[in-house]
Amino acid sequence: MILSGWGNYPRLNTRFSTPDSPAAATAFVRKLAADQSCTIGRGAGRAYGDAAIGSDLTTSSFRLSRMIDFDESTGLLNAEAGVRLHQIIDTFLPRGFFPPVVPGTSFVTLGGMAAANVHGKNHHKHGGIASFIDSLTLVGADGQPIVCSRTENQVQFWATLGGMGLTGLITSVRLQLRRVQTDHVVQRTIVAPCLDAVLAALATYKDSTYSVAWIDGTATGASLGRSLLFLGEHATMEDIPQTLRQQPFGWRPGRGRALPVDLPEIVLNPLTIKAFNAMYFAKGVRAPESAILPWKPYFFPLDAIDGWNRLYGRRGFLQHQFVVPKAAGRDALGEVLERVAARASASFLAVLKLMGPDDCGWMSFPLEGYTLALDFPVSEANLSLLDELDACVVRYGGRLYLAKDARQSRRTLEAGYPALDAFRSLRRDLGADRAFSSALSSRLEL
């Protein structure tokens, strides 16, 4: 069947398998080993590029959807790899627990979050999801399930967190949830008229639990990098209005909307993107500085529009997310934004975040510094622009997020990930290079 990631680019042919249970998945990997065939795990298909498309066969965690146990006193949840983040929130938020780290969508699976070591708006403060994963079950090339943690099979543990499924099939994950008092978030909006202002604001508010900046990627000159910085804290009982205190976890989402068809490519052009960004910025300037929001519109605004990726039409889109070390931040971000503007290309969404120290995962993306994510429709011009941006990222000592990547070159990867050689030889030693292979790993010779 033809599969793609969330960006709908590339679309590739692969065989597809959906084992019924962790036991069936384990037996399946064992059989593959005997057949000298290879596969890659796939969760919800929310990686943007080719990370979860098997070069031969793709193994879906769709049916590994059961929770295994939960300790109310500690907040430790053990669940199968295909359990989705929104199911965890639906189940445990009414009991006062929230996932410790959430990416921009709640449709991801536990296994996918571990494999990509996803980060959220709190990376600068709490680190990535890896910091909260107590242990995981990995079915390696020999078809034997092993439990990996900080004390057991540590090498596989750290190579798997961020390892994009290339060390084996993750069948279950034990995750530490965080206690919260309500299902709301107190949001503060800081208006930053230029890049220096937003970087200064990120530093000023570095103790805020959640912080993320939306950048107007179309602004130029003195306004280059103008942003809205959104800060957030889980609301306490005192924060929420009296009327909500009776039921601090009583919020229920309304019905979402769906984008039922691919939009024609003309809809998102530099003009409409510029207009949208200007409008969004103006709205942010007018908005009250502080607001109380339910969790869903705060953490997952795009989840309200089912299939928003169709905004970019059939050709799909590319997300370019990179991180650069803090010291190089101002120069690198300025150069990237200027290059984007100079090419008269426009990114519909641009998101900037402060990142804390890396999470020890061998192939983990985070690095202490700044991460910027940009969206572009797929076109020859944009592909060559991204090559240009890669060169710039490499020059400043940065790297690209594999969960978003569909096109970076081997050289870019090699320049950015110092543990790459160790990861490659570990894969060889474990036999994982022959048993687990994705379009991404073939492209980058991971």
Binding site: T18, D20, S21, A23, S65, R66, M67, I68, D69, F70, Q87, T91
Partner: protein, 247 residues
């Protein structure tokens, strides 16, 4: 004094439809018993339900084909459940069933004989208690024998007829019997078949439909309303035309 929560017994508790029905009752606060052939898979489901819905859930080993065990199984449950849902079924392979009598017999016993006998037993006990709900998941395949699955279809026809009679027999004793004919459902059983999307239900839709008629309303339901229309047409087709149809 606390009012005890009602109990649901699901026969076929590892099937997608069985799990979806169990989940919808658990959400209403029911205690759940999953009767399963493979206890390991059953326990996987019971743990999941218990965590998500915070109601007591247990898995018990039971193979409906083992008729000798029917009575003992019910006795060992302790209290007779308030509701019993049977989603046991085996699609089997039609072509093989035509030449392999053992396979044909297994399909017939699994879809008709054994569920009917077991639900009959449950019905007698509920009659004595003067209350209860029995839900049998049958199939539209039982409305007319098609060349592609008439062994399965004929067994489901028997099951549908049995449920109809059971309903009549128990109606004055406070026992409600519901027949569900779900049409196509996207499950493990149909994985790999090319089912037309507009007439294919998700297991959760079946569960919602069952939930809707648990306390009142119609006693014979299709999950997607379009199936009522489809089946009227299929029943009306003259035999010479119907028998020429390829599927």
């Amino acid at each position: 004094m606390t009012i005890p929560l009602p109990t649901l017994l699901v026969l076929g508790g590892t099937s997608d439809i069985g799990m979806a029905i169990a989940d919808s009752f658990a959400q209403q606060g029911w205690t759940i018993i999953l009767a399963v052939r493979d206890l390991a898979s059953g326990r996987r489901n019971s743990a999941d339900l218990e965590i998500r819905r915070q109601v007591p859930v247990r898995a018990v080993a039971f193979d409906i084909i083992d008729r000798e065990r029917h009575r003992a199984f019910l006795d060992e449950l302790g209290e007779l459940p308030d509701a019993v849902v049977c989603v046991v079924g085996l699609l089997g392979e039609q072509v093989r069933a035509q030449v392999d009598a053992e396979h044909a017999s297994l399909i017939m016993r699994t879809n008709y004989e054994m569920p009917a006998i077991f639900l009959g037993l449950v019905g007698e006990r509920m009659r004595a208690r003067k209350s209860g709900l029995i839900v049998g998941v049958s199939s539209v395949a039982g409305e007319r024998g098609r060349r592609s699955n008439y062994v399965y279809g004929s067994a489901k026809a028997g099951f549908t007829a049995f449920l109809s009679g059971l309903r009549a027999a128990l109606r004055d004793d406070g026992v409600r019997v519901v027949t569900v004919k779900p049409g196509f459902v996207a499950t493990q059983m149909t994985a790999g078949l090319a089912l037309p999307k507009p007439v294919t239900a998700q297991p959760e839709e079946v569960a919602r439909a069952v939930q809707r008629v648990a306390r009142g309303g119609p006693t014979v339901i299709y999950v997607r309303p379009v199936w009522r229309l489809i089946m009227i047409i299929i029943r009306l087709l003259p035999e010479p035309i119907f028998s020429r149809m390829k599927s």
